[in-house]
């Protein structure tokens, strides 16, 4: 078999896109599908462009009360007492609750599929009764006839605090003198290590080691070690968190909410309220963005408790400042990374020390950070230590490829420094060091077939890379990134309708077009049009357990479930045709063009047999249930052209290209959209996004005015090159797309800024004051 280097590639427009939407094609290898790879109108699209789609806050119920959550003004304090009596007396108030109205929780670990949660910590995060650990930490809630009455009443709740000093920086928080946030936290050495015995803010220490690190560095011709910092950033979804709950007299709780995973909400609500999961029904509304931030519960259990106390349905909405103050941003970090290379530019060793903010309670994405830091390259010797450290900020949560963006800043800028020092082209260096099938990561896992090398090849062949960048103060940078993607539990049920269409129900909430990509996979198998499938996202009583829409798993795993459901339909229809023709079902084949063929040239179309279900045994329902474990990791490489204003330090993005291996693009428009959207978030993280805290631990920029996500006037067109190295674990080769594109931008931008100015930025965000400071320092 020819080595990858001998294969012939070209970059060309991806059919149906704009000129900026391209793909890498290998000569002689083009996928051949009817539906996969086309761009149908998404099924939920009309509702969403006409305002008819119902999002979390859009639910209306008779007798609905509105609630308001009272939040801590302090970053760190012990709650001495809470007196709600005055609030309860306000006319129009129907219920007031505190943590005391929830069942008490103990320190047990709950497994949410993609991670674990300590139920006591979650209970305290939802409504604190012991300590408040960040400004905005919820302490009480009111339900009333209107949100205005609820707010006025909540202001009458008297909370006595014993204010404690806050700690906001990871390096300070792990020091011996730091105030300890949670006296139950001990350092847990993982994987498979021992647990410490003294109270600390350092909740976890991950340690990975491979080969002989010292020998690896000794063999290096060049060793570069650098320190990096990043600030806390938020996912910034446009829809604030919202939850509506009704606790029926029969003990059944119904929760209407916007979430990435209705079954995860069900599990958390059931556990926190100490009711069986069968008593909780979660109705997922349309979700206005999540990016990892809408998995944990905040308002849902509180709304349920208020409903129980009032006997009425209760709606709780966060406002934007609540979202910034008190949901789950992704951590700020401190990182020290060292890489050695030999004279030929091959990496000989890597070492990393990574400190991530957990926020108020343990649980930062430090472990994936550890596993991603050297994931793009063949690193023969490596040592990685990562620490999960509590600080007085909101409990952090996943944000798109959690942990990977941080570490890519470190690794990818050091790689760029190595290229500069050794006079190697950054593309050549990456082609030489890129991981391939069979390479082993520092954590010991060996790669199946992956497309890192192909993304670099696509960069090399791209118009962007081949077009010279001219002009003063301009520079071009590239950077790569990795994410594991995920499989997990998904269920699809698909009913064949008499008119030859299929109604598909699924448990995956649709954040970015997954109804379409799941329906398309079913349509491809059945040989029908995507438009002939009607996908619907249903509640937790109506379908089997389906994991979150996150981790780039939905198109892969729910897609697999849809494929299985389609195959189930095929098998059942073959039986029905056999009955019609009086032959054995083994003699019937479900062939191309949605046609069933039998002996002696008998044929019947899908449409025709769909009309004959009643007389052949009744309706046909295809069933697909998976716990997928053959997901394929994915790589992306981005090219950024920037211009830096030498007098202000302001960085403008001139041109930007996202190259990514997605396995197979089911709906290229939404694949491109994920690549573009992830890149835009990464550019925001790179340039301006950060939580600004005062020394007192108060967040100063809890608004979209001063938490500066990019506007459309800040960004150029974002070009895309889809690379399709199929995942052998999926019939169409789907890997997943959503996570990876946020990973490379900060490093790509930092490298571009260096090429424009000669200044290396090692601290995010690379905001004008910081860039200008470096420019002025380097001049003199």
């Amino acid at each position: 078999m020819a080595t990858v280097e001998d294969r012939q590639f070209r970059v060309e427009p991806f059919p149906g896109g704009t000129p900026g939407n391209q793909r890498l094609v290998e000569e002689g290898r083009l996928p051949d599908y009817d539906v996969v790879g086309t761009r149908p109108i998404r099924h939920d699209g009309t509702d969403k462009v006409t305002g008819r789609a119902r999002y979390g806050a859009d639910i209306k119920l008779s007798g609905l009360l509105q609630g308001y959550v009272l939040r801590s003004p302090h970053a760190h304090a012990r709650i001495v007492s809470i007196d709600t009596s005055k609030a309860a007396e306000v006319p129009g108030v129907h219920a007031v609750c505190t943590n005391a109205d929830m069942p008490s929780a103990d320190h047990r670990a709950g497994d949410l599929g993609e991670g674990i949660v300590d139920w006591y910590h979650l209970n305290q995060n939802v409504l604190a009764n012991d300590k408040v650990l960040y400004t905005g930490h919820a302490v009480a809630a009111v339900a009333a006839d209107s949100v205005h009455i609820a707010e006025e009443a909540a202001r009458l709740i008297e909370v006595e605090y014993e204010v404690l000093p806050p700690v906001l920086d990871v390096r300070e928080a792990r020091g011996a003198d730091a105030p300890v946030l949670n006296d139950d936290v001990r350092t847990d050495l993982q994987p498979a290590g021992e647990t410490g015995d003294t109270p600390t803010n350092v909740a976890k220490h991950f340690h990975y080691e491979k080969g002989d690190v010292d020998a690896g560095f000794a063999a290096a011709e060049l060793v570069i070690e650098r320190e990096f910092t990043t600030e806390t950033v938020h996912q910034g979804y446009i829809e604030p968190h919202t939850a509506t709950a009704f606790w029926s007299p029969d003990g059944k709780i119904t929760v209407w909410t916007s979430t990435q995973g209705s079954f995860m909400i069900r599990m958390q609500v059931a556990e926190l309220l100490d009711v069986p999961i069968s008593k909780v029904k979660v109705v997922p509304m349309e979700i206005g963005g999540g990016f990892g931030g809408k998995i944990a519960v905040y308002l849902q259990p509180v709304a349920a408790v208020l409903s129980k106390l009032s006997g009425r349905p209760v709606k709780l909405n966060m406002d934007r400042s609540n979202v910034f103050d008190a949901t789950g941003p992704t951590p700020g970090s401190y990182m020290k990374v060292k890489i050695g290379v030999d004279a030929e530019g091959k990496i000989t060793a890597g070492e990393a020390e990574l400190l991530f903010e957990a926020g108020a309670f343990p649980g930062s994405p430090i472990n994936p950070g550890c596993m991603c830091v050297f994931a793009c390259y063949d690193v023969p010797n490596g040592r990685i230590d990562g620490y999960d450290i509590c600080v007085n900020k909101p409990r952090t949560n996943a944000y798109r490829a959690p942990g990977s963006t941080h570490v890519a800043l470190a690794t990818e800028t050091i790689v760029d420094e190595i290229c500069e020092a050794q006079g190697i082209c950054p593309v050549e260096f990456r082609l030489k060091n890129a991981v391939k099938e069979g390479d082993e990561r520092v954590d010991g896992v060996t790669y199946p077939p992956v497309g890192m090398w192909e993304t670099i090849k696509a960069v090399e062949l791209s118009d962007h890379w081949q077009s010279p960048l001219e002009g003063p103060n301009r520079g071009r940078g590239i950077a790569s990134g990795f994410w594991f993607n995920f499989g997990g539990n998904s269920v699809v049920a698909a009913t064949v309708n008499e008119d030859g269409t299929v109604s598909l129900i699924e448990g995956s909430t649709d954040i970015g077009g997954s109804r379409a990509s799941v329906a398309m996979q079913l349509a491809e198998i059945l040989g029908i049009a995507a438009e002939d499938v009607t996908p619907t996202v249903v509640d937790t009583d109506s379908i089997g357990h389906t994991d979150v829409t996150g981790g780039s798993r939905t198109c892969h795993a729910t897609g697999l479930a849809a494929i299985k459901a389609a195959e189930d339909i095929q098998a059942q229809l073959c039986q029905r045709a056999a009955m019609l023709w009086d032959v054995e079902s083994e003699q019937v084949e479900y062939g191309d063009g949605a046609t069933l063929t039998g002996p002696e040239g008998k044929t019947i179309s899908f449409q025709e047999i769909a009309g004959k279900l009643t007389q052949t045994g009744g309706p046909v329902v295809g069933r697909g249930s998976v716990n997928a474990d053959k997901h394929g990791g994915a790589f992306g490489t981005h090219i950024a052209d920037v211009e830096v204003d030498p007098d202000t330090g302001k960085v403008q993005v001139l041109r930007y290209t996202v190259v990514q291996d997605v396995g197979t693009a089911i709906h290229p428009s939404y694949v491109e959209g994920q690549m573009q959207g992830g890149a835009a978030q990464g550019i925001g993280w790179a340039l301006n996004e950060e939580y600004h805290y005062g020394d007192d631990g108060r967040l100063h920029n809890a608004s979209f005015l001063d938490y500066r996500i990019p506007t459309c006037y800040d960004l150029p067109d974002i070009e895309t090159i889809i690379v399709e190295v199929p995942n052998p674990g999926h019939p169409f080769g789907v890997r997943g797309v959503g996570e990876v594109p946020i990973v490379p931008p900060p490093a790509a931008m930092a490298n571009a800024i260096f090429r424009a100015t000669g200044v290396r930025m090692r601290s995010l965000p690379m905001s004008p004051p910081k860039v200008l400071h470096e420019l002025l320092s380097s001049d003199g």
């Binding site: 994987p191 596993m371 010991g444 199946p448």
Partner: protein, 87 residues
């Protein structure tokens, strides 16, 4: 025989051994065999007879949905990993 990768924090138990071949047909049996050879290993990965919360087993590079029940082939590669949450 299946090969098991010993996580770095557990190499204190294995005397620095990184990779071992052990006779076992399932992950549960593999852990039993490891514990027999390196007493204390099971305590590092199990709690109440189940994998510790959040701990996962990867077989041949794929986190197995079956956990302790995952079947092993003679050439299987086994890793202990932590669950990874995506965005």
């Amino acid at each position: 025989m299946p090969r098991v990768h010993i996580p770095a924090p557990a190499r204190d138990l294995t005397g620095g051994e990184v990779e071992l071949e052990l006779e076992a047909t399932s992950v549960r049996r593999l852990i039993g065999a490891l514990d027999e050879r390196f007493p204390g290993f099971a305590d590092r990965v199990l709690e109440d007879g189940e994998l510790k919360p959040g701990l996962r087993v990867a077989v041949d590079g794929h986190v197995s949905a079956m956990g302790l029940l995952a079947q092993l082939e003679p050439g299987s590669q086994v890793h202990f990993l932590l669950a990874i949450g995506g965005g």
